[in-house]
Amino acid sequence: MPVLILSSENKEREREIAEKIAQKLSYTTLNEQFLNRIADKHILERKKLGNAMGSTPSILKRMSEKWWHYSLSCVELEVLEQLVEDGCVCWGLSAHLYVMVISHVLKVRLIGGHDSISQSDRHKKDRHKKEIVRQQRNRERWSMAAFNRKEADPGLYDMVINLDQIQTDEVVNTLTTTLGYQRFKAMTYSTKNLKDQALAARVKNQLLKSLTDIHVQAQNGTVVVTTSSVKRERLKKIEKVKEIVGHVKGVGYLEVHWNKDIMTEAAMSCR
């Protein structure tokens, strides 16, 4: 079954549309409530995990960069494993930023739709607009730091819908019809790609428990890990990666690519 991933600036309209589509097509749903299960499974503080999904690491928020990347990898892993299982409507979990080029996944960006907040006072309206712009900037900063992708980039999506111009029911009808197209039917190629992404996420999640600066790709059970460190730590880091990945289910062959951490080396040589 196809998968629908929604991303929006307007959380209320997004939820309304997602739930209506799921009901109409009898699809399961995957949304922010799923964070409870992720927090339980990976023994993470639920509130802190919610914060990690919306803000970048900061000392003031007592959220280290290492923990932030690890907690996001837990979300990525659990969402991908869920999507492998069955078709569903997914929103509120930033899946549009890590579920990439899967032909049976329809990714839709919903923009606008803020008109329903009635503002008779002009000052209030201006304040509201400024608040939206501020939120958009924060989301862009977050999505770049987390996945190196701009959330508002239309190239990430199959479709962009302006909620200021199209009514909720029309959006629901359009998307349910689109999901019925043959082109969004799951096939061996797309299912394998999704499984590969889930495997890469599983490996990354295990590595991020103790290591940093990890990038993982997987294809047909072959896993390529790219990492960096100072030159003298090279062998130690590669061995550590091999040891951890050796215990991950589904890995057939492992290749570790190492890059020199130039910044740290330069900083050390200045001491």
């Binding site: 899967i102 969004f184 096939m187 061996t188 190629y189 499984k195």
Partner: protein, 136 residues
């Protein structure tokens, strides 16, 4: 015993037919292998196959043309596309044009056998194949 599934396999790389013909034979399929798209088209004009497995990028004629041709002439035939240049746009286009499935190369013979078994099922035929034995 039911009639064996008749499969036409078209790929310009000889090794593909050489490897897959015995693999499909093991699950009781009768396979005709072609490397030249023109000869395959000629054979398709003479006979209706249950399943056509075709590569996409070949000299002379590409797999999308084969897909169009078979789909128009024999709507019942299941067409499986295989390619070493898999892309999301190509995969979606193939499915839109009526392909039964789309597989990226390299793949294991078991991957194709699993798809053939699914195609057989949708044709009302049956093949003994353990889906769970296909990894990844």
């Amino acid at each position: 015993m039911s009639k064996p599934l008749e499969i036409l396999l078209l790929d310009d790389e000889a090794i593909v037919g050489k490897r897959l013909k015995p693999a499909l034979g093991k699950i009781g399929c009768k396979v005709e292998v072609f490397q030249d798209p023109a000869l395959a088209v000629k054979r398709i004009s003479e006979k209706e196959f249950d399943i056509v497995v075709t590569d996409i990028y070949m000299d002379g004629m590409d797999g999308m043309q084969i897909l169009d041709l078979v789909h128009k002439k024999y709507p019942r035939t299941k067409i499986i596309m295989i390619t070493g240049y898999a892309m999301i746009s190509l995969a979606r286009e193939s499915m839109e044009k009526g392909a039964f499935d789309f597989i990226a190369k390299p793949f294991k013979p078991d991957d194709l056998r699993a798809v053939i078994a699914k195609a057989a099922k949708s044709l009302g035929s049956s093949i003994q194949f353990d889906y769970n034995s296909v990894s990844g």
